[in-house]
Every structure is written in structure tokens, then in C-alpha cells.
Assembly symmetry: C2
Homo-oligomer: 198 residues x 2
């Protein structure tokens, strides 16, 4: 079984990635399963830049093929932000509840019909030989003003995917994996991951 390093320490994210990659004959390990190495801060202007930089660093440090992703929510009324700053939107008060609360306050006066948003995920696969693939998944929807649901993390409790009435925090993990931005991005990577095991 091919070992694949997923460049993350986020337990919920790793679990989500393991579920999605379970059928691909790939053993997923996380950053806590390898010796520590210096990680550059995520300073890219795009999700793609950040995902690629993280995957390259992981390959350089471990010699293993590595997948990294960078995800966030793009709120149209905020010109696509929080975007790459989704995890640190509230600054020093950064935490999922603080980030979510700040976004809701910022759009408090924005009319409902302009509360469109999308979860975005860029995923990069980098191989020790130098082959690189970057893909992007988007999950469009709208924001609600009152958080609902306890699944997921981040902005899930205020995001209602297109065609749904539930927030993404009210979807089951399986439902979310099948249609989420991360699911969409990782499914685009699957053929490349299968090639890895061949």
C-alpha cells in the first residue's frame, strides 16, 4: 500500500480526507505521523499557491508523495474574501466561532439576495520525482444569518449549499464528502492517486 503524506494536522480534515481516499489503495498519514520539519507560513494570494507550497515542503522534507489542500469560503459581498484568509479572518481572536461571527456581522446590512458564497478548495499532489497536479473544487451556496448544525467545522454552520435547505453543518459526513468543495477537488485527484499505486 502506497503511503501518502497529507500535509495537515487538522484531525477533522484528515478524517475527511481518509474517508474520501479510503478506496484508492492509499495509506494516508498526517504531519503528526512524520518527524517535524519547518513549515512555511501560508502567504500565497491564491488557494492554489498555498496548496502547492505546502505539498512541495512536505515532499522535500519526507521524500513521500504528498497531498496538501487549502480551502476557504468566498463570500460575494466580501469580494470573494475571507478566501485564503478564512482561518484567520478575525485576526488575533481567530477561532471558528470568531471568524464566523465576524463574517455575519460584516454582512449584517447586505440584503439576503446578495448573500451568495462558495466554499473553495485547491488540492495539490506533488511526487518526489517532481510531478505536480493542482485541482480546484467549488461548492456554491448562500449564507444564513443564524448558525445551524454541529457537523463539519469552519463556516459550515452558516453555509447552505445550492439545492439544499440544510447548512453544510447539518449534512452527514458522507453527504458532505460526496458534494463538498474538498470532495470535488479530491475526486479530481483520484486518478492521479491511483496512478501513484500502480
Amino acid at each position: 500500500m502506497t503511503r501518502l503524506l497529507v500535509a495537515s494536522r487538522n484531525a477533522k480534515k484528515l478524517e475527511e480526507l481518509r474517508r474520501i481516499l479510503a478506496g484508492a489503495g492509499v495509506e494516508v498519514i498526517g504531519l503528526d505521523d512524520v518527524p517535524p520539519f519547518p513549515e512555511a507560513p501560508e502567504t500565497g494570494a491564491t488557494f492554489e499557491e498555498n496548496a502547492l507550497a505546502k505539498a512541495r515542503d512536505a515532499v522535500a522534507a519526507t521524500g513521500l508523495p504528498a497531498v496538501a489542500d487549502d480551502s476557504g469560503i468566498a463570500v460575494d459581498a466580501l469580494n470573494g474574501m475571507p478566501g485564503v484568509l478564512s482561518a484567520r479572518w478575525a485576526g488575533s481572536a481567530k477561532s471558528d466561532p470568531a471568524n464566523l461571527k465576524l463574517v455575519l456581522e460584516q454582512v449584517a446590512d447586505v440584503p439576503d439576495e446578495r448573500l451568495t458564497a462558495a466554499f473553495v478548495c485547491a488540492a495539490a499532489l506533488v511526487q518526489p520525482g517532481g510531478e505536480e497536479v493542482v485541482v480546484r473544487g467549488e461548492w456554491p451556496g448562500t449564507l444564513v444569518r443564524e448558525p445551524r448544525g454541529t457537523n463539519g467545522f469552519g463556516y459550515d454552520p452558516i453555509f447552505v449549499p445550492e439545492g439544499e435547505t440544510r447548512t453544510s453543518a447539518e449534512l452527514s459526513s458522507a453527504e458532505k464528502d460526496a458534494i463538498s468543495h474538498r470532495g470535488r477537488a479530491l475526486h479530481q485527484l483520484l486518478p492521479h492517486l491511483r496512478a501513484l499505486t500502480a
Copy 2:
């Protein structure tokens, strides 16, 4: 002397507008100088929409020609935000220091060379007869990570205009009026204001 209602209660902003319009033969009065009327919240997606809506409301309520402006800072690394949300960027903690602090925290990991920004001002003149003019002034520059200076308001202490080494909070009022976004917008309105007195 023609009376012109400037749709603002911000003492510093009124003073700035009075200085700029002083030579135009126009007596500037503010919202505190007229009977109160219901003011719609600023929910436009653009500075222009907000400025026009404010000026229209003021004319409808008072019968006076009215100027309104909407201004803010557009930070490139934040996709042009805080933008129309500049005054409420920190949400419930809204205040000039809280807004400025939040922006600095959000761009903390953004490299210096991407810390470009611009102050933007849309100014609208609406006349009782229905004539409407909307203009836009922009003042490009860069952000600094440590606030400096005590003049001005809002984001002035972290904005260094192009060609300057001082922040806009370190410029004198006269220097600022001559080159600021608001100055640039209002100077575009001057011919229309002079026509008003004719």
C-alpha cells in the same frame, strides 16, 4: 449664497468638505442643521450606489440640493475590501481603532510587496430638479503595519500615499485635501456646484 446639504454628521468629514468647498460660493450645512428624516441603511454593493442613495434621500426630505459621499479603503490583498464595509469592518466591535487593527491582523502574513491599497471616494450631487452627478476619486498607496500619525480618521494612520513616506494621518489637512480620494472626487464635482450658484 446657495445652501447645500451635505448628508453627513461626521464632524471631521464635514469640516473637510467645508474647506474644499469654501471657494465655491456654497454654504455647506450638515444633517444636524436640518430637521431629522429617516435615513436608509447603506446597503449598496458599491460606493457609487451608497453615495447616490444618501443624496437622493436628503433631497427628498429637505428640498435642498445635496451632496453625499461614500468612502473607504480598498486593500488589494483583501480583494478590494473593506470597501463599502470600511466603517463596519470589525462588526460589533466597530470603531476606527478596531477596524484598523483587524485589517492589520488580517494582512499580518501578507508579504510587504502585496500590501497595496487605495482610498476610494464616490461623491454624488443630486438637485431637487432631478439632475444627478456621481464621481469617483481614488488615492493609491500602501499599508504600513504600525499606525502612525494623529490627523484624519479611519484608516489614515496605516496608509502611505504613493510618492509619500508619511501616512495620511501625518499629512496636514491642507496637504490631504489637495490629493486625497475625497479631494479628488469633490474637485470633480466643483464645476457642477459652481453651476448650482449661477
